[in-house]
Subunit: 244 residues, 6 copies
């Protein structure tokens, strides 16, 4: 089985598969690609919109090259619905998967993310995904995506602090890391919360989504073509890279 | 005052401003443009996604040339949020405006639209816009967008029939026409419903949105920059026409 | 076009049309009347109930004298539904219009109003209007209606302070002024919030409702007679001024 | 204990206490009054609004004469909130009580009422009372209130037929009679449903509300003065009968 | 009429009927039993689950001995649904009854209970009962059930303090005592809140439920057998005390 | 990795692991046990309640013998919350997992189950799990659990027919098989729906839950101990097999 990760930015070097590599096994390979056109990071609706044509192109290519499932590597789940229309293999968004996982594992969950500008995006996703009833809050650490790597320690502290506030003030019983750039931070936050007396899961979206995606492939499931019918055949101007 | 209509398709000739022209007056001018890149019609998530970069480009241009408000001429409201981030003048989506208007004018409303493939899109918009509690149903006439003009009579009959079913079976107290390609059909449907004993408003989205947009401009209002902050300055690859 | 404002109190002198006068134009006249029977101010359910027969009488009279639309000048929207039943021209409540406008302009909004006693009234209106999903909070300034004019400066400060709390503590992205007696205060509050770094719309309900009402008239719309059927003809005791 | 029933119409003779009389006992007396001003029957928002000043006057009088609780004898619960503000003894609406009782006794319930014009009123009450999540449907028999007594047999058949449809098509597990003019019909409907194989409670609102009201008095409870504070003292014009 | 109270624990001596005894009258007798198998106190889902077989056995026995209604003496309402399936007389849960009563008496209510571990249980009950829309919050005093009797003064103070926070911070307009072990504390809390300027009802679940249960019996109502059909006849292993 | 399936009935022979056996692999073993005390099949709340002590005993034993995750083999998810309190390894209910999976794969889903008596149970689970907003309907085939094996062909036809009705009348875009006794039927139903022109996923709960459970274990996740704290240590009467 091969799961392909589409990282929906054009910036090379900031996404590493090292943390998901341990999830590879005899029967699971993980591959990855950036998009050819789009933003350097995703922090608002505009960034998302500009990433979608590139995501669709990568999705078509990945299905064509034999991938068994696709994951869009951003917590805004950009292009999730459009990509599902153009391919038949499962396409998963880490935001949708992580919120549903969190809903299953605890009474209520909070999402801890980067900036104020993405809060409405995540709350709107929850409304569409049907997870609002379990969403306690969305909290931010006020660090832009491209500065996340500057100080891993500062990042972990900010995430732990926001997670603690989510538990104590908002009633969170589980935490979803709200940016795929937080990859690898979950254990440190779980430990920090446990030190305060709170024993709860912190979901690292990309590893969690890889595991669920593998399960969906093994169960022989994919998204509904009743919801995501293949687009009707007609002209498209200005996107020579996209042939559906 | 000038209101600019962005018709988010590349097909020339199917959108006429004749029906909104009567709404022009001494102090209101209406202008319009197509998009330069994108689909020939919008009937699914993929079509929408492909239209957004073109919409954003038109929005920036229209604000630059002095428009006082923008309307996106499609009931999927594609690019509404991205466009609001990049301009300061009010940007309105006919779906959002029509659903809120319908919510104000009657106990519950139905949307009558083209194809099954857009039903989830409209229901999801209702969830995000907060109008789900007033939405009785979304019904379809099963005619693709580019065939709407083939037989105006057949179109009107199909719309009247679906609207009648919405009233009698779903409890609709108002109807929203669910495709901006239905422009000009509202009166005929109102008449057909009245002939069956049902006196209720049928909202023609583009004229209604023009009137509300003019009101918003006169009231000195625009969308919240707390929700739609201008994107942070950073590189964007592959969209030379877009400079924000 | 003539829009008639029904101020649902018996107190002369506290309502001035000066702030909406600028909205008048070559094709828009605004008129106004008090009610003949009812309370001196509206601050609770009892006050509202006592104002409704007077409102209904004014609505019938205004339609009779040729008004094109009616606005009830109170954020409790008293008599809105009863008035819609007895007249055919559009009747608008500033609470319903402002809440839907705010829902369109921002991710979530708060209402800032006079006293604790009206909070349940506004929250219940939101439930009936379908705007609860977008309502962040209702906050009060604890100044009774008839004392609002005593100190304009104190009023503006109280409103700015409550609005700031709504933004910072409740996540409001837009503000609705929750009493029509706050007319004219919106700009000062917007400025005060901007000084704190928050750029968001503050809706002044009467000017905003006048603008939307004009749009509804221009669009040829009115409320659904499926929801608001004319009352069946039958006797009514004790209200000689009301003949429907 | 004395429970006073306020029948909010001016028509003499159509309301009899015979069916609730059996509920009287050594420690429970039931009294009743019509209102002095208002409609001959309640079938729309206008009728309701016109009944409220009369209801408030009766509520004040009944508390003054020593009643222990008040019930408003109409399924629109007109004046419920205003009356609660002006008196301290419990005031109950049969719609609120019956819907909550039905919510407790079955998975979901339907309300069966007179005319289309009251359906939005009842659905809106459900939204305000918090019972929407348990309300399966509101169905009508299309018989005006003043014609209910014309043919008891026709009435019972119409109610049984609408109740059966509510069970089979809407999934009702309990029925609330949606007009206090249906008093005494519950047993016949229960029997008719049982004959079809459906064993479920049919709530007759006035007897049920009398029983719950007696329980509330015995438990020493009344409505919250935090929600229903006594109106601030100020002038009221045109209602000499009302002194609060 | 006889109402039987099933106290779903095996601990003798901590439940007294003294506080409900005053509710007995010429036509109302109250009886009580513990369960034969189960926990010593109920503070989590496991405790609840272990109490249910014992509750079912007591319910069958009580109906067999002629009780007119049953009340399960725990705010988790354990076994409520199972017991309703096996008997025909009304079975009431104090949590369901108290939450619906509170919903009727005030705009919003809070539940004040023992420990964090029961908060999800009560919030989930509210979701199932349809009372979530009226539930402001669930607050805890952090005292285990079996220590409640250790210091009545400390208990009352803790309850008053949590109730005050519910009013001031969560907007509660009514309080529901969230553990039947708090029996008898309501008046002291009402008094403490009144001393702070807040006049609102505090519902003592067992007395309130006894009063409502008596009303339901007098009204001739019981739970819907459409929701709670008698179990199909089949073998059951390991519960010799239960014969349905 | 070993996943243990607890089949919460005492009837031997009707549950086979043959259909999940293909999901076993080099790194995944599946084991199974019945419960020692409880019902012969689960079709109502009473059956569920009687199965829970047995489930808890099996859960403790399975964790003790080294299982990595537990699945409760019934679509009522009996004992899910109690079992999570007493063990630390992930405990999954097929109803919770399948509903969340269906919510991820399509716009809306329906559950097709055995009997009317379980419909409220499944709808209530959806309310607690937060999946109500995505649940189109629950439909039944009216075949008791112990008769499912009598005629596989009749079963498949009944399921296909109910699923088709869910798609055409309720708007389902995905189907969840609502009884774990339907194991192995999913493909036939998918095929039947595809023959009617509907291409959508049919979720077979046990295989799907095994796959997701394996993913959860691989991702290092388990349920929140903030929601499911271990029960406080205290006596328990009548259940010698349970030591926590």
């Amino acid at each position: 089985m091969r799961i392909h990760l589409i990282t929906p930015i054009v910036t090379e070097g900031i996404r590493t598969l090292d943390d998901v590599a341990p999830l590879q096994s005899a029967d699971l390979t993980i591959t990855q690609s950036l998009i050819a056109t789009g933003p350097v990071s995703i922090e608002c609706e505009f960034d998302e919109a500009m990433s979608v044509p590139g995501i669709v192109a990568e999705a078509i290519a990945a299905e064509g090259s034999g991938a068994d499932a696709l994951i869009i590597d951003c917590m805004g789940d950009p292009g999730l619905k459009a990509a599902r229309e153009v391919v038949s293999i499962p396409v998963l968004g880490p935001s949708e998967v992580s919120m549903h996982l969190a809903a299953m594992l605890g009474h209520r969950f909070s999402v801890v993310t980067v900036l104020d500008s993405v809060v409405p995006m995540i709350e709107n996703l929850a409304k569409v995904y049907g997870t609002s009833a379990k969403l306690a809050s969305v909290r931010v650490i006020n660090i832009p995506v491209l500065e996340l790597e500057a100080s891993p320690e500062k990042l972990t502290q900010a995430l732990a602090s926001a997670s603690l506030a989510a538990v104590e003030e908002d009633g969170a019983h589980a935490i979803v890391l709200g940016c795929t750039g937080f990859l690898g931070c979950a254990t440190a936050i779980e430990t920090a919360l446990k030190a305060k007396g709170y024993d709860l899961p912190v979901i690292d979206p990309i590893p969690a989504t890889v595991c669920v995606a593998a399960g969906i492939v093994r169960a022989g499931l994919t998204h509904s073509k009743r919801t995501y019918a293949h687009p009707r055949s007609k002209d498209l101007k200005g996107y020579p890279a996209i042939n559906i």
